[in-house]
């Protein structure tokens, strides 16, 4: 026996301890794994010995190895052995190992209950402490139930060290064994007033955590916490308390008022940034109107959080943020890109008339300095966003803005040429006073076009020339030297530009030509005019040979026209008048919503095909830069179309007729608008005349009358408002017509614009209907059998059902009923039972179809649904009830809404990493890529974000806000679709549906 002990201690001398192990691992950098496996073998040997010291040493080493990522669960029983050692030094090693390695499913935990109970009641406070600490890591519901009483007793232990730990572990116990909360609560509350600050802090922690889950139970404790908040000096405790109040205030509004004072005191007195941040966050969240402004300054020392907080403040107290403009501008110099981007976001919200120019000037400096095109492009879009926000509200000097835009064109390699171009067009069209200046600038731009197009590889910026050419042509009367500009537009180099820009060049050269003729004909010398004609005739043939159809067509048209003019000139006939008549008339901008405001006449179904669609849809090539192709109709006038005179005259006649009695027509001259304002009386206003033959009588509702009535009311209101506005305007002598901000500070009103600028407000069609859903996407009809799933907000889905009577008899008393599923329910009027049918509000004569809408509430949209339903009706002649069964198929696609998405937002979304991905391959798809895209867009409600060659990114959004992103690639007959979505089930189903669409063709 004695020998054995001696042997044990000798063995120990040769054992490695933790330090040796660490050192050994460091010395075996080359073959670490091998070394560790020999060590583990040694440890296994050590654990087999009876000597508890050896075992403890082995367990200690195991803990280290566990940290390095080795599995030591095989030693669980040995750990329990060491835990139950009576010697504290070994016991703590055991508990440490247990807390690192044990989890809820470790089965040996069952064996520990009595040991832990013994340790908890040990007279040595450190035994108790180490047991509590260990328990907090591996407590199971069983342990919690068995030990709850012991721990509760410890909460009133004499030693604060134990009390503190016991209070905190109770939280874990509550979670695992909720029944313990009720008996423990009074004691827990007592601990809030414990003399020891450590115990207090532990109690605050636990109660805050409980209160966050169920705040209303803890309202009664508010006064206690209030006292703690004013007396405690521990910042970590204060933060917890403030967080708790943040959760309580929504339940008890009076609390908010009481909190303002202590919070402001803390804000002004504390030196701890963390506490300050917490206070400010709570203040912002609670929207208390206390002086947060002064705080921002101090907070912005910690830039990122400061900016984060400021963006929250900006929403409620924009003024207090504005005063820290300089600080935010400084953040733009920061090396951290995330800080720079945050600062940019803030700038957008804080510009005013006063500081806009200064801010943009700073941004321009950054544009020059910026490295990397992505950040520079971001800056560029931000500059334009800032300037153009709320209808150019903050721009007082448009000359300045134009020059900024021109400066931006000098950026190399930007992708946003079209953005700059559309801004130029927008400003030049809408701000009349600026046109002369804009034209001068654009003429210079055209003259120096070679600078922009120098690098044809990155010709994003040459889109600007599109705008320049159009502006110069359209407002050519402002040109100082039109001949020079004409010459610039007809340079041979122009032929290297993209087709759509060339087309604009040619067209506007013709406009210029007309202006020049007009100027020159006044002179006695006719040679100048003839020279100009000759110039056109010399240069145009280059464009006639263009490969681009549009350019070719326009060029040859104009060439013939000029040749004819030249003939007339040679006969000394005055032609200028007639030539410029070709391009007469002024252009007024139209509000983007105008079309939507026009009510659809009754009986007109915009979704119905006029002719049956061709089998293979011949959609046009999608232009990568959709902006121009889309906006062209807005800028082009009827006179742009080059048709022969007869046709023109006929059309003009027809149009006049149409204008005369078409209230939808937007009168060209701005004066016409005024006429409406000044002439009182309803009779001057054209009234909607709907005399379309209505195919079907809907009983009861004279719809058109209703519209007219509504319309009259609306107009009267509008007139009154307009008059009011007029008066106000005259008083203020302000010319800006942008939307007025009520909250705008007085100082801003005092700024007079540098020169009189007339922002032509966008016109609305006169009979626009006041509609609520005007910002929503137009409903995208989706054919499912004969049922169209239409989209609505939230999880309500409106389903349009088209009823077509194919029989020869008259149908009446139709009732529509659907068997609800757990997920989807038909909305029935109040008071009706869950199985009642809905009456279809019309009758069907033979051969007629009509549409009715039904609202469904849908819980989850991630799965497609099939609902069974029946339609009952009475056949008029036979008076018998008939029944028709049908199935409603809710595809996942029908929950998607076509939502446009910009490529930068799209990239951010993909980067965010919240999305799950999935992919699908389609084989044997034999159609052009753009057809494929069009098909996905049409059938599955996606929009194309970006398209590069045979690869395109697409985006859509579900009615519950799930993002769905697609990356479509094609090679030969194989199409691969990589998709990402925050809801994997939804994604899977949408992909299945897409697959199905293509398998059918």
């Amino acid at each position: 026996m004695a020998l054995k002990i001696v042997k044990g201690s000798i063995d120990r001398m040769f054992d490695k301890n933790l330090q040796d192990l660490v050192r050994g691992i460091r010395n075996h950098k080359e073959d670490e794994a091998k070394y560790i496996s020999t060590c583990i073998d040694e440890i296994k040997q050590e654990l087999k010995q009876d000597n508890i010291a050896v075992k403890a040493n082995a367990v200690c080493k195991l803990t280290y190895l566990q940290m390095l990522g080795y599995d030591v669960s095989w030693a669980a029983f040995n750990i329990v052995e060491v835990m139950s050692s009576s010697k504290f030094t070994y016991k703590r090693i055991g508990y440490l190992a247990a807390s690192q390695c044990f989890h809820e499913n470790t089965d040996v935990i069952m064996l520990t209950t009595n040991q832990i109970r013994k340790d908890l009641s040990s007279p040595n406070q450190y035994d108790t402490g180490v047991a509590l600490t260990g328990l907090s890591c591996f407590v199971t519901p069983d342990l919690a139930r068995d030990l709850a009483n012991d721990i509760m007793t410890l909460m009133s232990h004499t030693k604060p060290y134990i009390r503190k730990k016991a209070v905190l572990i109770m939280y874990k116990v509550f979670l695992k064994y909720p029944e313990s909360l009720r008996p423990a609560f009074p004691r827990l509350k007592e601990k809030l007033e414990d003399p020891d600050p450590g115990v207090q802090s532990a109690a605050v922690n636990v109660i805050c955590e409980l209160a966050r889950r169920n705040p209303k139970n803890y309202l009664s404790l508010a006064p206690l916490f209030f006292k703690l908040m004013t007396s405690s000096t521990n910042n970590w405790v204060l933060i917890k308390i403030i967080k708790l109040f943040g959760a309580l205030t929504p339940l008890e509004p009076r609390l908010g008022k009481k909190l303002i004072e202590p919070l402001t005191n803390l804000i002004h007195s504390t030196s701890a940034m963390s506490l300050l941040y917490e206070c400010v966050n709570t203040v912002i969240a609670g929207q208390y109107s206390c002086s947060v402004g002064s705080v921002c300054l101090r907070i912005s020392v910690v830039k990122y959080l400061g900016l984060l907080a400021m963006s929250k403040i900006l929403k409620t107290h924009p003024k207090s943020v504005q005063s820290h403009k300089d600080l935010i501008l400084q953040c733009l110099d920061d090396k951290d890109e995330s800080i720079r981007l945050r600062a940019l976001d803030l700038l957008y919200g804080m510009v005013s008339k006063k500081n806009l120019m200064e801010i943009v000037k700073k941004l321009m400096i950054h544009v020059d300095k910026a490295e990397g095109t992505t950040y520079r492009d971001e800056l560029l879009t931000k500059i334009i966003d800032i300037c153009s926000q709320s209808n150019y509200q903050y721009i007082t000097n448009f000359e300045w803005y134009i020059s900024i835009l021109v400066e931006l064109t000098r950026l190399e390699g930007t992708r946003h040429g079209h953005l700059i171009a559309s801004q130029m067009l927008d400003v030049a069209i809408r701000v009349k006073a600026i046109r002369a200046f804009a034209v001068a600038q654009m003429a210079t731009l055209l003259d120096n076009a070679h600078l922009l197009t120098g690098n044809m590889q990155r010709n994003g910026i040459c889109e600007v020339l599109y705008a320049a050419a159009w502006i110069c042509g359209e407002f050519s009367e402002h040109l100082e030297n039109p001949v020079q500009t004409l010459e610039a537009m007809l340079r041979p180099k122009v032929a290297t530009l993209p087709g759509h820009i060339q087309a604009v060049y040619v067209q506007n050269a013709a406009k210029l030509f007309a202006t020049i003729l007009k100027n020159q004909e006044g002179n006695t010398d006719s040679t100048a005019a003839q020279e100009t004609s000759q110039l056109m005739i010399d240069r145009l043939p280059l464009f006639v040979q263009s490969a681009n159809l549009e350019v070719q067509e326009r060029a040859s048209c104009i060439l013939q026209l000029v040749k004819y003019i030249q003939k007339l000139q040679q006969k000394d006939v005055e032609v200028a008048e007639e030539v410029s008549a070709l391009f007469a008339g002024e252009l007024n901008p139209v509000a983007p919503k105008a079309q939507k405001k026009v009510p659809v006449p009754e009986g007109l179904d915009l979704d119905a095909w006029i002719n049956e669609p061709p089998s293979e849809s011949e959609s046009e090539d999608e232009q990568p830069k959709a902006i121009f192709t889309k906006e062209e109709p807005k800028h082009s006038r009827p006179r742009h179309t080059e048709v022969d005179e007869k046709e023109l005259a006929r059309r003009r006649e027809a149009r006049k007729q149409e204008q005369a009695n078409n209230p939808f027509y937007i009168k060209a001259s701005p004066s016409s608008q005024k006429v409406y304002q000044e002439t009182p009386g309803v009779e001057h206003i054209p009234v909607v005349q709907i005399d379309l033959s209505v195919p079907l009588k809907v009983p009861g509702l004279p719809m058109s009358d209703q519209y007219v009535k509504l319309e009259e009311e609306r107009r009267q209101k509008e007139r009154a408002e307009k008059k009011k506005k007029e008066k106000k305007k005259r008083k203020e002598k302000r010319s800006g017509r942008g939307k007025k901000h009520d909250s705008g500070p007085e100082s801003e009103e005092d700024i007079t614009p540098a020169h009189v600028v007339d922002i032509v407000t966008e016109e609305m069609p006169e009979n626009a209907l006041p509609s609520d859903d005007d910002d929503k996407d137009p409903n995208d009809p989706h054919k499912v059998c004969d049922i169209q799933g239409n989209l609505q907000d939230g999880s309500q889905v409106v389903v349009s059902v088209i009823f077509e009577n194919k029989s020869d008899s008259f149908l009446k008393s139709m009732e529509f009923n659907v068997l609800d599923s757990l997920n989807s329910k038909l909305q029935r009027p109040e008071g009706s039972g869950p199985h009642d049918g809905l009456t279809v509000p019309f009758q069907l004569p033979p051969g007629v179809s009509n549409e009715a809408r039904f609202v469904f509430t849908v819980q989850s949209i991630v799965m497609p649904q099939k609902l069974k339903g029946t339609l009952t009706f009475i056949v008029k002649d036979s008076s018998t009830h008939e029944k028709l069964d049908f199935k409603l198929h809710f595809t996942c696609t029908s929950y998607l809404i076509t939502t446009p998405c910009y490529s930068d937002a799209f990239a951010k979304l993909l980067e965010s990493g919240d999305l799950k991905s999935s992919s699908v391959r389609l084989e044997g798809v034999n159609m052009p890529f753009h057809h494929l895209l069009a098909r996905i867009c049409f059938h599955h409600h996606f929009s194309v974000v970006e398209r590069i060659d045979s690869c395109a990114s697409m985006y859509s959004r579900s009615i519950q806000g799930h993002h769905v992103c697609l990356l479509v690639k094609t090679s030969g007959q194989t199409v691969s679709i990589d998709a990402k979505c925050d809801e994997p089930t939804l994604l899977g189903n949408v992909l299945d549906e897409i697959k199905q669409t293509f398998s059918q063709c």
């Binding site: 933790l18 330090q19 660490v22 803990t63 940290m67 390095l68 990522g69 599995d71 669960s73 504290f88 030094t89 703590r92 440490l96 690192q100 989890h103 450190y126 600490t133 907090s136 890591c137 060290y161 503190k164 730990k165 905190l168 572990i169 939280y171 874990k172 509550f174 909720p178 909360l181 009720r182 609560f185 009074p186 450590g198 802090s201 532990a202 922690n205 805050c208 955590e209 409980l210 966050r212 889950r213 169920n214 139970n217 910042n235 970590w236 933060i239 967080k243 701890a272 940034m273 963390s274 506490l275 941040y277 917490e278 830039k303 990122y304 959080l305 090396k335 951290d336 995330s338 800080i339």
Partner: protein, 164 residues
Amino acid sequence: MVCTDNIDFTIPLQPAADRRMIKFVLMVNRQGQTRLSRYYHSVELSRRAALEADVVRYCLSRKKDQCSFVEYKDFKVVYRQYAALYIVVGITDSENELSIYELVHNFVEVLDKYFSRVSELDIMFNLDRVHIILDEMIQNGHIVETNKSRILAPLTAIDKMVES
């Protein structure tokens, strides 16, 4: 005495990510070797290694002048660098980042006081002691003690016990 009758003592179930707490504390050196790890919610051993490597790589890739708070997957990471050693704390979204940032410094100050000018080797060779210190400060994923002498009291008592 408190009237507890009208209090509803149910604890609504809450996803783990929604709890306000510290999820883990890591100490890693510049080479990415873990010197200390402590998890306050159970993570499988196999996933720990991957998580550590990932988080550490993320923190190491950031420059000195970049922000010390990083959003990582569904939680936030607060880190602080001391010479070659990084202390990385994973917290849930609603925890106050700055208070954790200050806690880390407090922790290092305590270590500094105990080891008198703490170094990476001190931490490696006295892992169990560092764990005791950490356990005194953070329990259950919550901050329990921030007073230096009170944190060290149990440890010094243990040291005396071992010596005697």
